[in-house]
Amino acid sequence: MDALIAPLLNGSAQGALLLLAALGLSLTFGQMGVINMAHGEFLMIGAFAAYLVQQVITASNLSIPVALPVAFVVAGLFGLLLEVTIIQWMYRRPLDTLLVTVGVGLILQQAALQIFPSQGVPVEKPGWLDGQLNILGYEWPLRQLFTILLASVCVAALSAWLKYTSFGRRIRATVQNRDLAETSGISTRTIDRLTFFTGSGLAGVAGVAASLIGGTNSQMGAQYIIPAFLVVAAGGIGQLKGTIIAAWAVGVALSYFAYWTTGSLAQVLAFILVIVFLQLRPQGLFTVRTRSLA
């Protein structure tokens, strides 16, 4: 039983982290068509924000809940800065955004290396995440349940925001037809900035979750960026539900492969699966009906 249930639970948590990392991308890449390679570094900014919050609020029971909104705002502001200074001149030129944001990512990495101890900083797990939950004989770490809950809350908040608020409606209108949205009186500039702020902010939240799983250092973003893009592509660009299913599927596949084979082989096998899937279905799980996306 253990051998069946453990990878399922661990994989779901792994998928939840992947989803958190991909959620912001599904906004900036999926909705806006910007290939932001610095997204991983926004994740890193979120993790360092969590560390800085812990320097002020030393009780880790309290500091992580506080760090989540702080990381969202800090990473979001970095995203806004990037949008205002660089990205806004590059809409409809995805290849250029790719090149520029790779550069921005490298600058942010090196800046973190200069500012913080080069080996990285510790982010303490809150005491209420110590311990395990016994599920059918498997001692499931509570921290993993936390990652899943956090991802669920973010997904729910994001989809409600997109669906029920007027900002959300304007974002969807802009995505579906930018020119028509503009002629209807929507300020697409404001919408772009807000979308980029939110997408980057979500990377910051993912960073807090990542800081509880791995190291918090200048290089941490690099390991999430490619899987996150793959998940967004496999889910169908611009499709939230596709991203969710793809992230979960990749996480669970990774975990089962890791359990049956080795950690290295699991990475290869899981991504072969994604690539084969994209060969068979290049548009991803779900497609968005729009004329504005290339």
Binding site: D2, A3, A6, P7, N10, G11, A13, Q14, L17, R92, R93, P94, L95, D96, L106, Q110, L113, P117, S118, Q119, G120, V121, P122, V123, E124, K125, L129, G131, Q132, Y138, E139, P141, L142, R143, Q144, A210, L212, I213, G214, G215, T216, N217, S218, Q219, M220, A222, Q223, L254, S255, A258, Y259, T262, G263, S264, A266, Q267, A294
Partner: protein
Amino acid sequence: MSTISKRLRSLTAMGAIGTTVALVLAGCGARAGDEAAAGGTSAAPSCVDTSGSAVKLGFLNSLTGGMAISEKTVSNVLHMAADEINAGGGILGKKIEYVQEDGATDWPTFAEKTEKLLTQDCVAAIFGGWTSSSRKAVKPVVEKHNGLFFYPVQYEGLESSPNIYYTGATTNQQIIPAMDFLKAQGVKRLFLAGSDYVFPRTANAIIKLYAAKLGIEIVGEEYVPLDKDDWTSQVAKIVAAKPDFIFNTINGSSNVGFVKAYYDAGLKAETTPIISVSIAEEEAPAMGHEVTGQYASWNYFQSLKTPTNPKFIESWKAYPNSSGVTSDPMEAAYISLYLYKALVEAAGSFDVDAVNAAAKKNAITFDAPEGKVTLDGENHHISKPGHIGKINSSNQFDIVWASDKFIEPDPYLEGYDWFPADIRKQLVDAAG
């Protein structure tokens, strides 16, 4: 859509031009090489000029990219050693003038920069590197130009070169002492966890052979790619295997993920401790309190009580951009520059062949912070004391075990009867 495809086309065109240029350049390079070979000289005569009041040395570490996390400190401590030596009058009365190069966590770059340091900057010796991949990139270049390279990090052994000096531990100075310690602890069931590259794979091959001899059962072996932090799935396997000790050959930030996943799964230092070979004073603070009580095998610890250690620690703490703690790899880098000084002074010359001849006398020593180390002139490694430290609550190490004497370097493990010749050959071939 049309903009994209236009851009793609122009990118392809640029790529084609780039390839053509590269091919032409490669062609030129090949011709130049042929002429040199036809001239009958295997290595160009050294362009090192030590007639002035200074000697040029090359420092080569990754200051950018993923490995900068670790290598920055090694680079800084080399600067500190150079400053100290200069303050003391230099080497053979000549001040060290260093040329700093960035390997940028890219192995071909290490090879290119080595070539540049040797042929354009004309340095007398090069210091630095961290990963085995960087050393293996530098090796053919220093051998071709008959240069010198000083490598400061513990590694998987099974290598020696007339052009490289190794001041970190080889396996019989770090892995084997760790196994002896485990045996003394009465360990019966051992789990091996490592990053997926040459050092952990080779180390674990050696560990398995020695464990069989010691009567320790290996209950599992897991690897995760070096750039992945998430160890959750593998730790679930460790929990299921119920080992009484874990031998950790993970490197870099992945260690933090491993320790977190270990802690999350409810494993504890009291019942299932970890012994590591890449967590030192620099790395431990990034893991916070979760790493307290775990063990590490090194030759040098900041907590060592030797005559020269207090001064080393004090100088480092006062040095600009210092990390504030001393660790084994940086101590080995510090040794490397002093060892070079001792070699040159014994040879009375900066000439590579003269330096190697001086080494052959097996009389080069240095009062290092880890103790008095002696250079082995044959395999170019140094003798070292084996130590096991236990991490305390301030992320420093309490020494709990020490080898009874300095361990002579044996990179090919020729003095160990449990290490068969065919496996040695296999591992040497596999390591390239």
